[in-house]
């Protein structure tokens, strides 16, 4: 089973996004960027599948600026075999990303795509399912556990009511949720080894797909602020305050 893992370089999850004063977007100058946390989980899962003998080859792809290569290197250091960098300085929408991923999935002849359930910058949560539909493949989204049996995967999914299990035939798309695994930290020797792993350089033009944006950002503004309230002395003071507010 050949596995493709799309990974996105995003603002580090520990950094609080700051809106630019001209409301044109979020300020990404000189801030820490990292691999989207869900994509780390996808990478870990693919590496584990390979160690378990269930994946023959693992390929990461990142679509983004030059720096996206760092994200690819991180995945390679975690154990992925090779990378594809689709270079663009545009901030492409999930629809365009999915089209590029479709072309790559078909060209590489992959059996499984493991994407994150959501990129924590745009919070769209769209790419994985879009890709599955474009390919006409089944999907197991929000995966909490993935087991391979023969030509299908059994995927336990985190849904609003609890867990749901589905069985999907391969080829398929899976999207990862938080409890699927705990991603490893790459060790120094692996980071060194990753420097020699190949990264294929591409651009969106190589795929002949329509990537024009469909949404225009009118503005990006600060959310309604909340200010710190008061610190109450004790439980009785808290109860009195909540009664006064009429919420209990």
């Amino acid at each position: 089973m050949k596995v493709l893992i799309p990974v996105k370089r995003v603002l580090d999850y520990n950094v609080k996004a700051r809106v630019k004063t001209d409301e044109s977007g979020v300020d990404l100058a000189n801030v820490k960027m990292s691999m989207n946390p869900f994509d780390e989980i996808s990478v870990e899962e693919a590496v584990r599948m390979q160690s378990a003998g269930n994946a023959s080859e693992t390929i990461v792809v990142s679509i983004g600026p030059d720096k996206a290569q760092e994200t690819i290197r991180t995945a390679l250091a975690m154990g992925i075999d090779r990378g594809i960098h689709v270079k663009t300085d545009e901030n492409l929408e999930p629809l365009a990303i999915a089209k590029i991923l479709k072309a790559i999935a078909l060209a590489e002849g992959v059996d499984l795509v493991i994407a994150g359930k959501q990129a924590i910058d745009g919070d769209n949560g769209a790419t994985g399912s879009m890709l599955a539909a474009m390919l006409g493949w089944p999907q197991g989204t929000f995966a909490n556990e993935i087991t391979k049996d023969g030509e299908s995967l059994t995927v336990s999914r985190e849904v609003d009511g609890g867990l749901q299990t589905v069985k999907v035939t391969l080829p398929a798309v899976v999207t990862t949720d938080l409890r699927l695994n705990e991603p490893r930290y790459a060790k120094l020797p692996d980071i060194m080894k990753a420097k020699r792993k190949p990264i294929d350089a591409k651009t969106p033009a190589d795929f002949d797909v329509d990537i024009t944006p469909r949404l225009t950002t009118v503005k990006v503004s600060e959310p309604a602020g909340r200010s710190a309230g008061i610190i109450v002395e004790d439980v009785n003071a808290l109860v009195a305050a909540l009664k006064k507010e009429g919420v209990i």
């Binding site: 929408e93 999907q139 989204t141 069985k167 938080l178 959310p223 909340r226």
Partner: protein, 308 residues
């Protein structure tokens, strides 16, 4: 302009999230129809027909739709979209699962988890865990929109829409339902509750969560949790409140033993009153709390429980 809203239901009960999605759709302007896709959905369809301002109910009743799995939903919805300018669904996991498939087949960009409607093509949505609000305008001929239900009021009852039954999906599908493990609870649903009591890593264990549950029951509240509490196995995954869990906006949110990470705040900072109980006076949760109590939760929570 005609808009198709997809109903949230469990084949038995029509959920309030539907009414909220209807409000969002109505704000876009035009006729609003509701799709009820499921198995044994006569009652659900009848309930949907009673929502005020709805033109018609489209019902499809088939075994393959019992769990509203992605491929069957896609097969039903995509052809229906010939007759609609927009599709709107709540951003629950059921709809998050297939809506991007619909968008892909229509070759349009989905607009996810909107919190505001400016016009038929312009929407407000949180990005970066709600630390920024983006206003986006769609140039697509059809809009595919999911709705953060906590941001909209429920549409009123009082309608009498007609019900039209459409043809079943044919399949075959490449995915199959195997089973589910749903959390059973007599408490109100997390996203709809007026009061939510949430516990974090500070609660320390699954056994200790009993004090959170007891307080919740005293208040008639739902129980929520931080990711750390879910990861540690204190409570099931569906309790998670936050950027990548559920968004809640109750009248009262009580955060106990939760530090207040960006990702947690993303799911609860629109609550009306926030109370934080934490032993660390520097915990970031206090920066958003209306009332903070700096205390050991193992003393404060039972005391609060007893005082109510």
């Amino acid at each position: 302009m005609a808009i198709l809203v997809v109903a949230e239901h469990d084949n038995v009960v029509l959920k309030d999230a539907t009414h909220k999605a209807v409000t969002a759709a109505a704000a876009m302007g035009g006729d609003v129809d509701i799709l009820v896709a499921g198995k044994g959905v006569k009652d659900v369809s009848a309930a949907a027909a009673k929502i005020a301002g709805v033109r018609k109910i489209i019902a499809v009743d088939h075994e393959s739709l019992r769990r509203q799995l992605a491929e069957a939903m896609q097969e039903i919805i995509v052809p229906l979209m010939d007759g609609y300018d927009a599709i709107v669904a709540p951003d629950t996991t059921t709809h998050k699962n297939y809506m991007p498939r619909v968008a892909a087949m229509l070759d349009v960009m989905q607009i996810s988890s909107i919190t505001g409607v400016e016009s038929a093509d312009t929407f407000v949505r949180p990005i970066y865990a709600g630390n920024a609000m983006a206003t986006v305008k769609s140039s697509d001929p059809k809009k595919v929109v999911t709705v953060r239900t906590t941001a909209f009021n429920a549409a009123a009852e009082g309608g009498s829409a007609s019900i039209e039954v459409i043809a079943d999906p044919k399949g075959p599908f490449k995915s199959e339902y195997i089973g589910e493990e749903l959390s059973k609870s007599d408490r109100p649903e997390l996203t709809a509750a007026k009061i939510v009591v949430s516990g974090g890593r500070g609660v320390g264990s699954a056994e200790n969560f009993a004090i959170i549950e007891s307080l919740a029951d005293k208040l008639g509240a739902a129980v929520g949790a931080s990711r750390a509490a879910v990861d540690a196995g204190y409570v099931p995954n569906d309790y998670q409140v936050g950027q990548t869990g559920k968004a809640v906006a109750p009248a009262l949110y009580i955060a106990i033993g939760i530090s207040g990470a960006i990702q947690h705040l993303a799911g609860m900072k629109d609550s009306k009153i926030i109370v934080a109980i934490n032993k660390d006076e520097d915990a970031p949760i206090f920066q958003v709390a209306d009332y903070g109590l700096v205390a050991d939760l193992f003393n404060a929570v039972p005391e609060l429980d007893a005082a109510l």
